[in-house]
């Protein structure tokens, strides 16, 4: 698409400076727009910035985040900034920011992402109660060099992974599949096996949803090359024995028998849940919210990056759990949609 001279005057507000926001900003910069990234935390990169390595190529998450940061240096990035109010003014949108300024933009992109399910809400898994229970995010933090007393200096011989923590669970309020946890669990199990070669690892799953490119290879590799055990059955309860080890109970539904195992560390695969903070803004702009709390696209097939409102666009996990490549592709797609929209004005 050709760069439009008039684009230079056009502001596009990007709400959320995760990888979706950054990638969209990068694309919009390329098209000659002036994207403004509004990020509530003190840094961009979102959840991916906390991650260590990404499947399926095990590439460092840092690389992509840093590349995106570098390539969006030309965009205005407002950190530690929240949006107090939003409204429509003619063809434009005005956003009242927490820094007291008002931003006027021709289009608004919601790249507000997701929240990780709060693992402590699944009380039976004992996160925050039993010493040796941690989450996928805790583990990535540890992979990134942040110390963790659950692992540092401990003799780790037995590790468990619980899939679907807070996802596909109506009792936890999230019926949707969080999509990336199966492959993340397998990735982390392999990484743990590499760190603790003598450890035995069990993954407790309900279904294994390995839909993406090379995911199945990961699965076969985890079984064949790393000897990771997969038990089809959801963990029912977790307790602690007198030695401080975690006792996990589940049913091995393939064997039709209850199983229990004591572990040195248990990792809970917290799922992606909707970012509830964005609901207020969505309400002000009368955007649809799906039953699962994610924002509603105009339709889920042809225009997933478009809202029902002219000039408001979506990218990434704001509309539902997404993988990194899906998020990036949606961000570029949204940038093009924004360009088409603004060009038509």
């Amino acid at each position: 698409m050709k760069k439009n001279k008039n684009n230079a005057n056009q502001h596009v507000a990007i709400i959320g400076g995760g990888i979706a926001g950054l990638e969209a900003a990068r694309a919009l910069l390329g098209l000659g727009y002036r994207p403004v990234i509004i990020e509530k935390s003190d840094r961009t990169g979102g959840h991916v910035a906390d991650w260590h390595r990404l499947f399926p190529d095990m590439s460092p998450a840092k690389d992509i985040v840093e590349r995106l940061r570098r390539e969006t240096e030309g965009a205005r990035t407002l950190l530690q900034t929240e949006i107090y109010a939003a409204g429509r003014l003619g063809n434009d949108y005005t956003l009242t920011l927490s820094d007291g300024n008002t931003l006027r933009a021709g289009a608004v992109l919601f790249s507000t992402g997701f929240d990780l399910f709060e693992a402590a809400k699944k009380e039976e898994y004992g996160y925050g109660i039993y010493d040796q229970v941690m989450t996928n995010a805790d583990l990535e933090r540890w992979f990134n060099g942040g110390g963790d007393k659950r692992l540092d200096g401990k003799e780790i011989r037995r590790i468990g992974f619980v899939h679907c923590v807070g996802s596909r669970d109506v009792k936890a309020g999230n019926a949707q599949c969080s999509k990336v946890c199966c492959i993340t669990a397998i990735k982390q199990a392999i990484e743990m096996k590499e760190k603790f070669p003598d450890a035995e690892i069990w993954c407790f799953y309900m279904d294994l949803r390995l839909f993406g490119k090379k995911y199945e290879d990961f699965y076969i590799g985890a079984q064949r090359d790393y000897g990771i055990h997969f038990i089809r059955g959801r963990v029912s309860e977790v307790s602690e024995n007198i030695e401080g080890r975690v006792i996990v109970k589940a049913e091995d539904t393939l064997a039709g028998k209850p199983v229990k195992v004591s572990l040195d560390v248990l990792v809970l695969m917290s799922g992606m849940v909707c970012n509830r903070q964005v609901h207020g803004l969505a309400c002000q702009l009368s955007l649809g919210v799906d039953e699962d709390g994610f924002l509603k696209s105009r339709d889920n097939i042809a225009s997933i990056t478009e809202s029902d409102n002219r000039g408001i666009f979506y990218a990434g996990a704001v509309t539902g759990p997404k993988t990194v490549p899906e998020t990036l592709a949606e961000a570029r797609s949204a940038a093009l949609s924004i360009h088409a929209y603004l060009s038509a004005q």
Binding site: A120, E123, G128, I129, D131, S239, E240, N241
Partner: protein, 356 residues
Amino acid sequence: MIYKGKQKIWSDYQKEIPDDHWFYVRSCIRQSFFPGSERYFLGICRDMLGKDIHETEHHTTCGGIAYHSDTIPQETAMTIVARQFALMTEAGYKNLVASCITSFGNYTETLETWREFPELEARIRENLWKACRREFEKPEYVAHASDLVYKFRGEIAERAKYHLVDKETGEPLRIVEHIGCHYSKMFPHKGVGGAEYPCVLSGMAEAWGGKVIDYPERRHCCGFGFRQYLVQANRGYSVSNTHKKFESMEPYHPDVIITNCPGCPYFLDRWQYVIAEQTGKTYGRNGFGIPVLTYEELAGLVLGIDPWDLGLQIHQVAVEPLLDKIGIEYDPAKKYLGLNEKEIMKPGLPHVLRCC
């Protein structure tokens, strides 16, 4: 164990418990199994705390045992419950307190069902009217008696004569708390502390100086399970269940088990004898078992009531090692003297489990 984590959960599951004016419904079986418990509950509430607690001789079973044993349908059980509500309404009370966990569960389940299916409530009202020409108002509040004791645990602690500590070492006693399944497993928000980490008993134990043990099979059923025990052919399951719990708590060397259900203390107590006979194994020190007390009995001990007045001699597992450890004074000679020092018969002694 991260104690703070538990405290957070406990704070999420606190329920408001009315201060006074209760309609008390007794348990079918507790009066014979733990004859002192209900009496001292009323004693503590009325005499010590000066509360208004009313009970009536017209109260019957809540139907819970029959319901959970699949011998009566739910409608029948609900109609029986409705009759208890009618008694309460007639007596002019709005807060119901149940002595029995199954009753508590039964009342809660009935009320929750009616909330979901109002037409069912209408039918039950009709049934009750047809059956005994009674009408009722739903209680504003349903509590279990242990909720009240939990609420007043501080008052009891203030008046305590003994604390749950080893008098020799000053160490807190290691206490296993066992919550009846129907207390909060069905409706976590109806129990103090929720279902996973209830604090109704642990709160009492800690308030009175003890230390609660969180062992792996803490959540497990005592083994009663209604049909598991009531059908004789299934009793193996029942005792196996109990055995599993004891095996799990054994490494922690608990001093006492406290419970808030009629069935649990009975089975945790009596099955220790059966397990000892079957396997030769006992779980307390020196061949004794682990004493199993109701929370009222424990409160009674803390308040300095004579163990034999509390009916502790009725337990299978001897409580003397526990009494000695706390330093509670008792007269061994009076163990088998009943009310007014009347001789009640001495039981025969088991072969394996040490009882004196």
